[in-house]
Symmetry: C2
Subunit: 330 residues, 2 copies
């Protein structure tokens, strides 16, 4: 680790994990934080709660398909949902740069409120701080959320077994690509929108599978590749992907090629990846809707890896994200 | 309201309230947010929870008596405590400027962990985002917290009645003054430390008063004056302060005079202000410890105001904070 924080430390990949494990977990170590999952499980008078937080620094603040307000709400709703909980309440902290236009702020807050309503939840607590011009880049939002844990499921990488199946709820890489192109640095246009959306309905439907549902996540920063690497480590088993089965829109795939980025590493903000028992694949596909796909399976391995079978019959190792090809994507 | 966000909008005073009510509350309106208290009350399976968030942008990050890590934890612990709840779990979101020294980050996270342990709670969830050099001022932290509400109390300005007594747990204005002098812009030295500390023990002791405890707050941004104005509005009654009874250290008072600031408007980060029934004053003073003081009383009034009886026998109106004499104090 270098002696200063780098952009890669915030990318959700290998450096991020190092910063989180070597520094934050080391200093704050406790049993509830240790799983480093999307939400911590907390018991309140015997009621099991999920509790999560995420900071949003996306640039630009408004992008095709959404804005930072909607993104911040959906992101926290999704962290609660994939932890097997029903979102109960949200909180939002705003750090605003002096001089930020009030009408833009109102549009973003409106969008956050609409996203919360769509997920059946409210922003019940908030805070606003203003910093001098130049001390922030417009606006940062940190959302936190509480969810009520579904007692029918026990979700953990430790419950994932060889033979289990990996499914994704729809096509990947759209959020990251939409935001990259929205920055205008590429001098290219692309008709792709962010997929920012709540996945609480799909997640709740999967909870009905009970024991057959092993684990869920929303593959945000670092993309599907990073999420599945974290799964492999936690499960002590490998994930074998069928590359051709992973849904990617043709224009998104072309944009990724142009940028030299593998779509597996690009952030999604409205997708869900689930591991289920083989007998639950049909029910999972039905619950996730028409865009869902079975993309791989878990297999026993001495060294847990994520592997992809390529269209050409070969197999490649899909490592975690290294560095940060797409900074400030969320 | 001007058409851009100003520093005064973040000061916790009149402009802040305008931004919060006219924009945030207007867009996000729901019954749990509407009281705009330090924490929202949420019900989970019949268990009453307090839920709160605060963003911290204090400058400098390290100041006499504390740092942003400790401040962010104590602030959220205190918002839970004065809402009549026992802190259960904390979450923390970090927005870090690229190039921030890792050893300084470690010291701040360590300090946050130590503050959490001192309050009997853990940071169970977190997030880290890194922004480019120049897109933040070192580090911002947003903490959120869940507390278990004490069933013995029902705290609300609406429960405050004429004749009730106002008490403070110790001397005021130390945090704001310590941070201002720590910036070095004044080219003056002062031996005052921030009072950043958890007040959960004192708050829990007051909860034993049951119905006699009407309302509690921690007078942070905007100081005691702003907190008591919010109380007066909420209660529809006036607060009459005895100015000479309000504990202020002599050197802090002198520093305030030098800066032309009334100590009533300066932020505290480890003090508690409580309104109790007259018969509970003795028990309250005993629970709050040797530095506590009875500083005023509530009285019926057609126009709710905060008034202070001056040492010279006159009475002055103590309005809410207007503008922002001390930006980025927390």
């Amino acid at each position: 680790m270098t002696d200063v924080v780098t952009l890669a430390d915030g990318a959700g990949g290998k450096a991020s994990r190092r910063l989180v494990e070597d520094l934050f977990l080391d200093e704050l170590r406790n049993p509830l934080l240790e799983p480093l999952s999307d939400a911590a499980l907390v018991s309140a008078n015997g009621t099991r709660l999920a509790f999560t937080t995420d900071s949003y620094v996306v640039r630009p603040l408004v992008f095709p398909g959404g804005d930072i307000g909607e993104l911040a709400v959906n992101g926290t709703v999704n962290d609660l949902a994939v932890s097997g909980s029903t979102p109960l309440a949200l909180a939002a902290g705003f750090v605003i740069e002096e001089g930020f236009p009030l009408d833009e702020l109102r549009a973003i807050v409106h969008s956050a409120g609409r996203a919360a309503a769509a997920a059946g939840v409210s922003v019940v607590a908030g805070d606003t701080k203003v910093v001098e011009c130049g001390a922030a880049d417009g606006l940062y939002i940190t959302t936190a959320g509480i969810g009520l844990v579904d007692v029918r499921v026990e979700l953990s990488p430790a419950r994932v077994r060889p033979g289990d199946c990996v499914l994704v709820s729809g096509s990947i890489a759209e959020h990251g690509i939409a935001v990259m192109f929205a920055r205008g640095d590429l001098h290219l246009e692309l008709d792709v929108e962010s997929d920012t959306a709540p996945v609480h309905v799909e997640a709740a439907a999967l909870c009905a599978l009970g024991d057959d549902l092993r684990w869920m996540r929303d593959p945000t920063r670092g993309g599907l590749a990073t999420t599945l690497n974290e799964l492999a480590w936690g499960a002590g088993a490998s994930v074998l992907l069928q590359e051709t089965a992973i849904p990617v829109r043709e224009d998104v795939r072309a944009a990724c090629e142009l940028l030299g980025i593998d779509p597996l590493y690009v952030a999604n903000e409205g997708k869900l990846v689930a591991v289920v028992a083989p007998q639950a694949v049909g029910a999972t596909l039905a619950a996730l809707g028409p865009h869902a796909a079975l993309i791989g399976e878990v297999r026993a391995d001495d060294v847990p890896l994520v592997l992809a079978q390529t269209p050409y019959g070969g197999t490649r190792i899909v490592d975690m994200l290294v560095g940060d090809p797409l900074p400030r994507i969320c």
